[in-house]
Symmetry: C2
Subunit: 211 residues, 2 copies
């Protein structure tokens, strides 16, 4: 059983979008504004840099009680003592990842549609990332946009916590929650905002109001 976590406002980092401000400064601002969970995502980065970044983020987030999730790399998550891993459908199978992570870490899985939901081993998964809700430029290999109806379709299939992702801003966030998501994951809406803390606060207010 993984420790409790809150998907309400789930920040996914993007190396290009945080480059000017810096990764740590962006994440720090986001959690000050109300982000409840943070995923380090950089598919192009080598392992050594990922471990270093993960350790720095862990040092920032652990005292605040904010879980740190690592995208894809189970080895990086274990080396940096992160709180969990988020897997795409092309990443290591959930059962293989769980075997390496042990029972206490958080394991998330992306599902884009009911077929992916049906074919996935969800017995070892703690939450689902559902999307893309809207088409987005920050993830080149994302599937077709599924809209809030797609969130509702997955909601009907599982009791696992769900976080909607893909092109979500403060306006859409309320709709995603009302469609059945427990939380909203954002990349650009915080990482590319002129003021990430203010952006996070606006998103969090919309999410809290809709829950």
């Amino acid at each position: 059983m993984a420790k409790p976590f809150d998907l309400a406002l789930y920040l996914v980092t993007d190396p290009r979008l945080v480059a000017a401000r810096g990764l740590l400064a962006t994440v720090d601002a986001a959690v000050k504004g109300g982000a409840t969970i943070v995923q380090l995502r950089d598919p192009q980065a080598h392992g050594r840099m990922l471990v270093e970044q993960a350790r720095a983020l862990k040092a920032l987030l652990a005292p605040l009680g904010i879980p740190l999730i690592i995208n894809d790399r189970v080895d990086v998550a274990v080396a940096a003592e992160a709180d969990g891993v988020h897997l795409g459908q092309d990443d290591m199978a959930p059962g293989d990842a769980r075997a390496l992570l042990g029972p206490g870490r958080i394991l998330g899985l992306s599902v884009g549609n009911p077929a992916e939901h049906a074919s996935s081993d969800l017995s070892v998964v703690d939450y689902l990332g559902v999307g893309p809700v809207k088409a987005t430029g920050t993830k080149a290999d994302a599937g077709a946009a599924i809209g809030t109806a797609g969130v509702t379709a997955i909601r009907a299939l599982t009791r696992l916590p769900i976080v909607g992702i893909g092109g979500i801003d403060a306006g859409l966030a309320s709709d995603v929650i009302r469609a059945g998501a427990d939380g909203v994951a954002v990349v650009s809406a915080i990482c590319a905002a002129p003021d990430p803390e203010t952006a996070a606060r606006a998103l969090k207010a919309a999410i809290t109001a809709a829950r």
Copy 2:
């Protein structure tokens, strides 16, 4: 202590070069021709495919007593029960990898020059990959060619087994061994050969004669 291994003829796979013949068929031919150790390397591949390929290679190689090494991904190596991991200087630090791998698996590290040798934690490493001996087209981020003199320079610094890598064919293989390497790693010389088994046999003969 890792189990004994023989670096004599070290095959590193390349997904583009094995595409026509197939990964398993290429590796099968190489070990029939005398390859003594095999590294699965595909920096662009996602985790799920790497685990699948590693498991298939492990099933092929384990009955032959040929160790399977995974490039970079410690998590993939553990999930597929591979025999070890090979790290570049940008990959996870050797100490972090060893902590995940445990004491029994083989850990290799690339060093391109004495400075990289000096700055690396070799206390947890089982062998060194030294190169590129010659400039090569199969690894875009390889450093400057170091020649056989570069192999000799590293040989003088360590008692760890050394495998030379980078642009090595049967002609150069003897020189690399005489320069102090325990073995020769090849990509194109086997993967791009019209007959990988014959190519491996010629390389192995040159290496055996020079050792």
